[in-house]
């Protein structure tokens, strides 16, 4: 069974995010970029499936600029067998990404797709769900446990107030939550080998996908600076402040 994993290039979570001075976007020039942490968990899960003899091949796919090759190489250093970059200057909107994945899923006859539940840059939490809808395949989102059994996969999902386990017929789409696994560190020899693993570059057009712009980014603002706290004299005062000032109750 082939497993497809999504790999998105995002700002490194250790880096302090800065907004461009004209508020048009986040300033990404010369910032350290990394694999989206949820995607890293997806890669780890796929590799574990391969190590367990369940997956035969792990293909890492990224939709993004040519710089995303770096993250695909990282995925291959971790253990993905090959990679596909769908090169696009801007079209990493969820629906376009989902369409690209749908095509690749079909072309590669994939048994299981593992994606991060969301990326830490745009926090959309959409691609997995859209991909399921487009391909009419079952989905198990926010996975904290994945067990493939023959023609199906059991996915334990983290939901409000507990866990829900669903059994999905393959091919299926799984999106990862934080507790699914703890990604490994790449080994040095594998980083070297990753340089020689195949990385194919395609365009939306090659895949027969028409990338459309559905979202327009109007403005990006830094969150308001945190205000200093105040000491309240009593519980009553606290309740009153929560009602009148914070307007949260």
């Amino acid at each position: 069974m082939k497993v497809l994993v999504g790999v998105k290039r995002v700002i490194d979570y250790n880096v302090k995010v800065r907004v461009k001075s004209d508020n048009t976007d986040v300033d990404l020039s010369n910032t350290k970029m990394a694999i989206n942490p949820f995607c890293e968990i997806a890669v780890e899960e796929a590799i574990r499936l391969k190590e367990a003899g369940v997956a035969t091949e792990v293909i890492a796919v990224s939709v993004g600029t040519s710089a995303s090759q770096e993250q695909l190489r990282t995925a291959m250093a971790l253990g993905a067998d090959r990679a596909i970059l769908v090169e696009s200057e801007d079209g990493a909107e969820p629906l376009n990404v989902a369409k690209a994945f749908a095509k690749i899923m079909e072309q590669e006859e994939v048994g299981l797709v593992i994606l991060g539940k969301q990326s830490i840059d745009s926090d959309n939490n959409q691609v997995g769900q859209m991909l399921a809808a487009l391909t009419k395949r079952p989905q198990g989102t926010f996975a904290s446990k994945v067990a493939v059994d023959g023609n199906s996969v059991s996915v334990t999902r983290e939901i409000d107030g507990g866990l829900r386990t669903v059994k999905l017929e393959l091919p299926a789409i799984v999106t990862t939550d934080l507790r699914l696994n703890e990604p490994r560190f790449a080994k040095l020899p594998d980083i070297m080998k990753a340089k020689r693993k195949p990385l194919e570059t395609k365009t939306f057009a090659d895949l027969g996908v028409e990338a459309k712009q559905h979202i327009q980014l109007d403005k990006v603002e830094a969150p308001a600076a945190r205000q200093g706290g105040v000491k309240v004299g009593s519980v009553d005062e606290l309740i009153q402040k929560l009602k009148d000032e914070a307007k949260v109750i």
Binding site: R73, A186, K187
Partner: protein
């Protein structure tokens, strides 16, 4: 937050070193380009910050334990070692033939820096493996290579360097450990060594001791020392560990710093059953060791860089959190707003940045010597490295001590309290000016071997290179100040250091100030060059490159004058050293 690699600095300075030494032209390095360097730096950072850094304070607090000849490393050490070994990091820059990755030094250097910053005490085995392997590669017989190299390069076994004895520290010529020839061509080793790093531990199955010893009829002094491979467990025909080789750890030191790294007293051959094999030729042990020592000195200089970086990161974070005093507008401020605190942080920042640059340039020069076919280039690089080695080792480690002190000063009283972790940096840094040759030893190496015996060739070439860079740069304060310092240095060389009539005892008395002056001028030079590059790239990243220019300015204003003052000291004839009677 614990240590995070200064990724951007590393990436940019690696690129600068790569370009300055034109490594892109070297055929054998085609597969090892900057993209690979960046990928490796990235992954090494994950390991350094994720695995090694969290253990740094654990090691300091727990230390190693000794009981009944056994050394127990701190909690987590063993697992971290297994992970380090299995990830292939030990063989980073060692040949693929023996299970290494054969990476060039210019990529290995930033990786090593991360290990040294995140947990110096732990990672000392890595430099021992690197140095030990290089000795075996250069000097050992094929048989010895086959027996030991793969095991060392893959980290199955570790290496200990056994030089020092109670009466032989800086002066290794005084050592007395015996090597008695046996009929089968092996030697029986007998003697006591002290201060042997990782001479005994619980992280690997076998320890290969590289021991300096004397054969019975060897000439006295340093010409009568030979080098032996002496494993803790003898090695069977099939390569497995066999009989115990009569090597006992008799104790470990209770130290100021580096608590997590065992510093062992070792007794060889108490029961006349310690077998060693000669590495290279008889009586040429010190020569072999010197090959290693040069690398070890450079790596020790990087320890200075790594610890300075760690001190900077901690102090910077604290200075943004600690609110004390008021700014001009009367508002209470974080202490980083006070110019004097900023000055201390810039001491740390400018010096660690400049020394990192110097360290990376030296690594790239080593790549030239190892990979280039151009004989003249190789010769020039060798000379430059030989000259810079004592400067880098001595100055970077002396600075690390001073800078760790500055970092503590930034913390105020909390810096003197152990729980913040900044005092550990100072305590760990303290040894770096002592082992691998004290600063005093480095300074004499610099003045006598590297300058006077060379008749000033290498140093005039270095000065010429500085002047070319100054001439190509725009006229600004940084270059003006540097130019004046270089002129002063040239004069001091003429009148004092290279003078045929120099009083040698007098020169020894000012050798360390001279080394410090060289260090400061080399760093100011690095920053001046970098500022020029930064100016060219400014449009790409105003803040980063603007800051590089500011660092060069800061250094030329605050630190370079210290180098010039040291030069003045070098030329003062009446300095009281000779006159005073203790």
């Amino acid at each position: 937050m614990s240590y995070q690699a200064p990724y951007k600095d590393m990436q940019w300075l690696v690129e600068q070193a790569y370009q300055t030494q034109q490594l892109g032209n070297l055929e054998s390095l085609q597969d090892f380009d900057l993209d690979l360097a960046n990928a490796i730096i990235d992954e090494a950072n994950k390991f350094a910050s994720g695995v090694l850094a969290p253990l740094n304070m654990v090691g300091d607090e727990e230390g190693c334990k000794f009981s009944d000849g056994q050394v127990t490393t701190p909690t987590g050490w063993k697992d971290a070692y297994a992970q380090f070994r299995d990830s292939g990091w030990i063989g980073l820059a060692l040949p693929e033939e023996f299970g290494g990755q054969g990476l060039p030094k210019y990529i290995a250097q930033p990786v090593n820096e991360m290990w040294l910053s995140s947990n110096l005490a732990f990672v000392m085995f890595a430099a021992l493996a690197q140095g030990g392997s290089e000795i075996l590669l250069k000097f050992a017989s094929d048989e010895l290579k086959a027996r030991y190299l793969t095991q060392i390069v893959t980290g199955e076994w570790t290496v200990a360097m056994a030089l020092t004895e109670p009466n032989a520290g800086s002066d290794l010529g005084a050592l007395t450990t015996k090597a008695i020839p046996q009929a089968d061509g092996t030697y029986q080793i007998k003697g006591q060594k002290i201060y042997i790093t990782y001479g005994e531990h619980d992280m690997a199955d076998n320890i290969v001791h590289l021991v300096l010893a004397r054969t019975p009829d060897a000439p006295a002094g340093s010409r009568g020392i030979s080098l032996f491979a002496v494993p803790k467990y003898r090695v069977n025909e099939d390569g497995s560990c066999g009989e115990f080789n009569d090597i006992r750890c008799t104790g470990i030191e209770h130290k100021t710093g580096l608590h997590g790294s065992p510093t062992c007293s070792i007794s060889y051959g108490d029961n006349d059953a310690c077998v060693g094999e000669l590495i290279g030729n008889l009586n040429q042990g010190l020569m072999a060791m010197f090959v290693l020592m040069n690398e070890a000195r450079l790596s020790c200089g990087m320890q200075g860089v790594g610890l300075s970086e760690l001190a900077l990161q901690k102090a910077l974070q604290y200075s943004k959190e600690r609110v004390q005093g008021a700014g001009a507008d009367g508002q209470r401020v974080a202490i980083i707003e006070h110019p004097d605190v900023k000055r201390m942080l810039l001491n740390l920042r400018s010096e660690s940045f400049a020394l990192r640059s110097l360290g990376y340039q030296i690594a790239a020069l080593i790549d030239v010597t190892e990979q280039s076919d151009d004989e003249a280039a190789v010769k020039a690089a060798e000379k430059r490295i030989a000259l810079l080695t004592p400067i880098f080792k001595g100055f970077a480690t002396e600075q690390a001590n001073e800078l760790a002190g500055d970092a503590i000063q930034v913390y105020g009283g909390m810096g003197f309290v152990e729980e913040t972790g900044i005092a550990q940096v100072m305590r760990d840094a303290r040894i770096t000016t002592i082992y691998e040759g004290t600063t005093g030893v480095q300074s004499k190496d610099l003045v006598h071997r590297k300058i006077r015996m060379d008749q000033g060739q290498a140093i005039s070439e270095l000065l010429a290179a500085m002047r070319v860079d100054i001439a190509q740069a725009p006229e600004n304060v940084v270059n003006k100040r540097l130019s004046a310092a270089v002129d002063q240095l040239a004069q001091v060389l003429d009148t004092t250091v290279l003078s045929p009539n120099a009083d040698l005892a007098q020169l020894d008395a000012v050798a360390v100030p001279f080394l410090n002056a060289m260090g400061g001028i080399c760093c100011a030079w690095q920053l001046a060059r970098l500022a020029l590059k930064a100016q060219e790239s400014k449009a790409q990243d105003e803040e980063f490159f603007g800051n590089v220019e500011a660092l060069a300015e800061f250094y030329s204003a605050y630190k370079l004058p210290l180098a010039q003052a040291a030069l003045t000291t070098v030329t003062q004839e009446q300095n009281g050293v000779d006159a005073y009677q203790f």
